[in-house]
């Protein structure tokens, strides 16, 4: 139980830093909104085509903005050299990982909260017809992204070319997650319930499996 409470404390510490400066959230959200504007220019403005393309737009925005937030969240620890302090703290390493992953999941979700209404406003697609499904899929997607992302950004913290290497590592590993997320949203827009729940289950299993693997692997990847 104490592992979880330590994790909650670390997550709360990160979020409190973020609440004071709002640096990551503002830049990520602005970038996400910018992407929505770019999409509305670069894709054909045919209503039927937009409806097919919107799920992809949503999840690609989450991937891009999430990567920015991810590298910035760990840069903060590197600049102040506090990662070492966190790892030396007399708490299980797992709580450090869980705490970091939680705060990043919250940030990614924050981007989704900005991008989804932007897409709805700019492109006039009815994303909010089934809010429960939308929210659940975004939560599961953010968790999966944050789990895999935290493992590798924490491991890359000392590497000079980390900004280039992070997407190179993350995107091939996360393709199943993004395909599942896109399929949930597409199924939701098409009103295809079996498709929605197949991919929702896929997301859930993906999160569960990668939670276990990340918990195991985090300790061996992040040693100073």
């Amino acid at each position: 139980m104490s592992t979880l409470s330590h994790a909650a404390r670390i997550a709360w510490k990160d979020l409190r830093i973020e609440l004071r400066s709002r640096e990551i959230f503002y830049t990520m959200a602005f970038f996400g909104g910018l992407l929505a504007v770019v999409y509305s220019f670069v894709f054909p403005s045919n209503a039927d085509m937009i409806k097919i393309a919107v799920p992809g737009m949503l999840w690609v925005s989450i991937a891009f903005a999430g990567t920015i937030g991810l590298s910035r969240a760990f840069d903060r620890e590197r600049e102040n050299d506090t990662m070492r302090a966190l790892l030396l703290a007399p708490i299980p390493r797992l709580s450090v990982f869980l705490g970091k992953a939680c705060s990043i999941a919250v940030l990614v979700l924050g981007v989704a909260v900005v991008v989804t209404p932007m897409l709805w406003l700019l492109l006039d697609v009815h994303l909010f017809d089934d809010p429960g499904v939308l929210i659940l899929s975004l939560v599961l997607g953010s968790i999966g992204f944050a789990l895999v992302g935290s493992v590798f950004s924490a491991a890359l913290i000392k590497v000079r070319s980390r900004d280039v290497l992070l997407p190179v590592i993350l995107y091939p590993l996360l393709i199943p997650l993004f395909v599942a997320g896109t399929s949930v949203t597409a199924g939701m827009l098409a009103g295809n319930q079996p498709k929605v729940w197949y991919w929702m289950g896929f997301l859930g299993v993906y999160d569960a499996v990668f939670l276990v693997v990340s918990l195991w692997i985090f300790e061996s990847l992040v040693i100073e």
Partner: protein, 243 residues
């Protein structure tokens, strides 16, 4: 003993290559075409026949199987490396990933040629093609990390290999569902082999297994030597023998 293994397998592979080419071009009938309906190879003449294009099957399938074997070896030895911290495991993982990238490139190129001949497109999102492509991308990422991530690259890359291996079932389930972007195309499954294709097929399997082993053993040895040179150099720098 181990120093003779690579030349031995190279020799066997060379003999096997000659035998395979002979079997492919003389022993196997020319006019096969693929019947998606009953999933069999049939003797066909005229426009249905793939003629020489069918022959690429004997290169493509062994390479793809070796790719998946290499990914398995890389994943397991990366787990071993992260667990035991013995760099010998890391040499094996690096070697299998390098070999897997080479075999994967051949798989993708031959698969693409096959797709053009059989289905009329250079690329379709068929289950096995998609899996191979995603795995191959991850493996290229692995090599990039090894190259540019400096000292901690070994660990990060090992973590990547483990994640890639665990991701394979997800990619399989993802493409198998088939109603979204990566569409399952036509039936691109491994054929039920006709009896007169079997000698050529198994001969090429053995040949490419020998070739795979030659490459992997050589690469493990070179990775070990690279590491030993690096360690010696560091030792020399520490003791002041080297500048």
């Amino acid at each position: 003993m181990t120093r003779y293994l690579a030349p031995l397998f190279a020799f066997l592979g060379a003999i096997g290559l000659a035998c395979t080419c002979w079997l492919i071009f003389t022993d196997t009938p020319l006019q096969y075409s693929w019947q998606p309906n009953n999933r069999h190879w049939v003797l066909a003449t005229g426009s249905g026949s793939l003629f020489f294009n069918q022959k690429i099957f004997f290169w493509h399938v062994p390479h793809a199987i070796m790719l998946f074997i290499a990914v398995g070896v890389a994943g397991v030895s990366s787990i071993g490396f992260l667990w035991k911290r013995n760099p010998k495991w890391d040499d094996v993982a690096l070697a299998s990933v390098s070999v897997a990238v080479a075999f994967g490139a051949v798989t993708l190129i031959t698969g693409s040629i096959w797709a053009k001949a059989a289905w009329g497109h250079w690329w379709i999102w068929e289950k096995r093609l998609t899996m191979s492509l995603l795995l191959w991308l991850t493996l290229v990422g692995y090599l990039l990390v090894r190259r540019y991530a400096g000292a901690s690259g070994e660990r990060i890359a090992a973590g990547m290999a483990v994640f890639a291996m665990i991701g394979v079932p997800f990619i399989y389930a993802m493409v198998g569902a088939g109603d979204n972007h990566p569409q399952a195309g036509s039936e691109g499954n491994v054929a039920t082999l006709n009896s007169d294709m079997r000698p050529a097929f198994w001969s090429s399997m053995v040949t490419f297994l020998c070739w795979f082993l030659t490459l992997t053993i050589t690469r493990v040895q070179s990775a070990r030597m690279e590491r030993e040179v690096r360690e010696l150099r560091e030792k020399g720098l520490d003791t002041g023998v080297l500048e």
